[in-house]
């Protein structure tokens, strides 16, 4: 009996302790989430809106700019995430070799971009890839190209620049996860494989990669989420241009809310598209990576 009473007062105390955090979370997270869900069913401009049912969803299917943003986002996702994760894995494998000369230098060098500010590095990339930027100067000087590449003016090259930028910024971040996981692998597993004559590529492909599977899943999920929310880089480097060729979903949401005549309801609907995509893609990745045994 005494224990039950003690239990109740502990419960009350416990709730009192977490209440401030819960109230703040409720106010600043749960409420906006629910409010935006409600908003996504509103139509109208500015503060002048009314319930529109599925009108916004219908509008999505007829909005060429949205479809453009969706396509661009998927192109970034499909091209950039695999390149980045494979690079991160290869770097991690190379830098995990204790005999490699200067490996702590390379580790730091590859990780360093992750601590730079998103906007600052984006501005730097913008200036480097300008028509008369260092990249063109360099390529011209070594004779790889005869005329400057219109990096930021051409739809294809603009996408390339964005992909280069986010790869530069985030590869080291993913590499750190792989390195940490690799250091937990028993070294004698590799020694056993070496004695047994398993070649280096097979040790990587048949031992390292499967043993890192949980981490690879984790990084691919967070990279997917990150790419679906891609905003800072495209906003700073290309502002979505030229002619919407690097417009992403997040940038479109921003434009809908703050640049164009505000359309809060429709912007919320596009946000929920991202939520649904994150859900679906994460689920697919978990299913693919599921242990079949």
């Amino acid at each position: 009996m005494a224990q039950a009473r003690l239990g109740r007062s502990e419960q009350i105390n416990g709730w009192l302790f977490v209440m401030p955090a819960l109230v703040l979370l409720g106010m600043f997270m749960i409420y906006p989430i629910l409010w935006s869900l409600w908003m996504s069913f509103q139509t109208g401009r500015g503060m002048n809106f009314s319930f529109g049912g599925i009108a916004n969803i219908v509008r999505l299917t007829q909005d060429p700019v949205f479809q453009r943003a969706l396509t661009n986002t998927f192109i970034f996702l499909i091209v950039q995430v695999p390149i980045m994760l494979v690079l991160a894995l290869l770097f991690a494998a190379a830098l995990n070799d204790s005999k490699l000369w200067g490996r702590s230098f390379f580790r730091t060098a590859i990780f360093l971009p992750c601590v730079t500010s998103l906007v600052a590095y984006s501005i730097l990339f913008k200036s480097m890839f300008a028509n008369d930027g260092v990249i063109n100067d360099f390529l011209l000087a070594v004779g790889l190209i005869a005329t400057p590449i219109p990096w930021l003016a051409d739809p294809f090259w603009a996408k390339v620049v964005v992909i280069l930028a986010i790869t530069w910024r985030w590869t080291g971040y993913n590499m750190i996860f792989y390195l940490a996981a690799m250091q937990n692998i028993d070294r004698s597993i590799y020694e056993a494989a070496r004695i047994d004559g398993v070649p280096a590529w097979a040790r990587f492909w048949h031992l390292t990669v499967p043993m890192l599977k949980p981490v690879i899943l984790f990084t691919s999920v967070i990279s997917t989420i990150g790419t679906l929310q891609l905003f800072d880089e495209v906003n700073t480097i290309t502002a979505g241009g030229p002619s919407d060729s690097t417009l992403t979903l997040s940038l479109y949401i921003y434009n809908l809310t703050f640049k164009f005549m505000p359309s809060f309801g429709y912007a919320s609907t596009v946000s929920y598209v991202i939520v649904v995509l994150v859900g679906i893609l994460s689920f697919i990745q978990f299913v693919v990576a599921r242990d079949r045994r």
Partner: protein, 352 residues
């Protein structure tokens, strides 16, 4: 046929010399055990033979080939690690067959080899399990199976049983002895458990601090140790060491009532020596006698050990031929045959 020959082998990590010049011959099909205290360089020496560590100086021959700079996979060896080193995401079957895929062995042949190894090691019912679903002893057998399928000329084992409980250890020890008979290959086995060494080895190599202290059959090392270290390391319970002085016709034991134990004069009279007597030497009795007071009695059932001393002397361990009614505080006549006595000089070397 594949023996080993090591000549002047050394190993340094940076400026630290870990193996300080090892000469060793291992005959074909011999079961050799490296023993020694922790940190003496057993694993390092084994890993050098495997090719996982480079040889700083000296020559390492496996068979008739100089192997100093040969890749681990081309030395005709297989190694079983203390941590088992199984591939965690592969089934027992895949674990055992994995290396063969890269040796150009055809699939049906791999299957056959794996089946054969599984039969020898009684792993057949477990072939489709993952390592995490196996007990320690079963994992150990898989690790051995992975070595067997490659038909190496030399097996290397680095403390393969140290992660197992005592009972399983005894069982696996017997299994390993059986396996050696069945496979008829050279085995080099590292342990710091001298019971494992005594029971398994054809030949024991006692290492200390990167140097070989003595090489010999288990009984040679037990009966005829070259120095104090080997005498103390081999045998359980440990040999008793008593301070003594050489006198005419024997050794005087100043700590034990100045008894003079008859012995061959192995050094000039007056030389201080250390006398070694194994606990079990006291079980048979004999003409020599030391009077002691018992401080502690250990009943093992089959044998009763007394821990006793004479006055302020060092504590001695005595086998009592199962004197079950012995109790702490009793006085006891520790009798032994002086022929069993071993005499060591001040430098620890045996005086014969």
């Amino acid at each position: 046929m594949s023996g080993l020959r090591l000549r002047g082998v050394t190993k340094s990590f940076g400026s630290v010399k870990v193996i300080k010049g090892v000469d060793l011959d291992v005959a074909d099909k011999e079961f050799v055990v490296f023993v020694g205290p922790s940190g003496c360089g057993k694993s390092t020496l084994l890993r050098m033979i495997a090719g996982l560590e480079s040889v700083t100086a000296g020559e390492l021959h496996i068979g008739d080939k100089l192997m100093n700079d040969v890749d681990p996979s081309r030395r005709g060896i297989a190694m079983v690690f203390q941590s088992y080193a199984l591939y965690p995401h592969m089934t027992v079957r895949e674990n055992m067959g994995f290396a063969l895929r890269f040796a150009g062995v055809a699939k049906p042949e791999i299957q056959r080899q794996v089946q054969e190894a599984a039969r020898i090691l009684e792993l057949e019912p477990l072939l489709d399990r993952l390592p995490r679903a196996l007990s320690g002893g079963q994992r150990q057998r898989v690790a051995i199976g992975r070595a067997i399928v490659r038909h190496p000329e030399v097996f290397l084992f680095d403390e393969p049983l140290s992660n197992l409980d005592a009972e399983l250890r005894v069982h696996m020890r017997i299994e390993l002895a059986r396996l050696h008979k069945e496979l008829k290959t050279t085995i080099i086995y590292v342990t710091h458990d001298q019971v494992e060494a005594m029971t398994l080895a054809d030949k024991i190599v006692v290492l200390r601090d990167g140097i070989i202290e003595q090489v010999g059959t288990p009984l040679q090392l037990y009966d005829d140790p070259d120095n104090l270290f080997v005498a103390g390391f081999i045998g359980s319970p440990k040999m008793n060491f008593l301070k003594g002085v050489i006198v005419e016709g024997g050794v005087r034991l100043p700590g034990h009532g100045d008894v003079v134990v008859p012995a061959r004069e192995v050094a000039a009279a007056g030389t201080p020596v250390t006398v070694g007597l194994r606990p079990e030497h006291f079980a048979q009795g004999g003409p020599a006698m030391i009077g002691v007071r018992v401080e502690l009695v250990e009943h093992l059932g089959g044998e009763t050990y007394a821990y006793a001393r004479h006055g302020q002397s060092e504590l001695m361990t005595l086998a009592t031929n199962n004197a079950r009614d012995l109790a702490a505080g009793d006085t006891y006549e520790a009798r032994f045959d002086p022929a069993e006595l071993l005499v060591f000089g001040a430098d620890g070397k045996r005086l014969r």
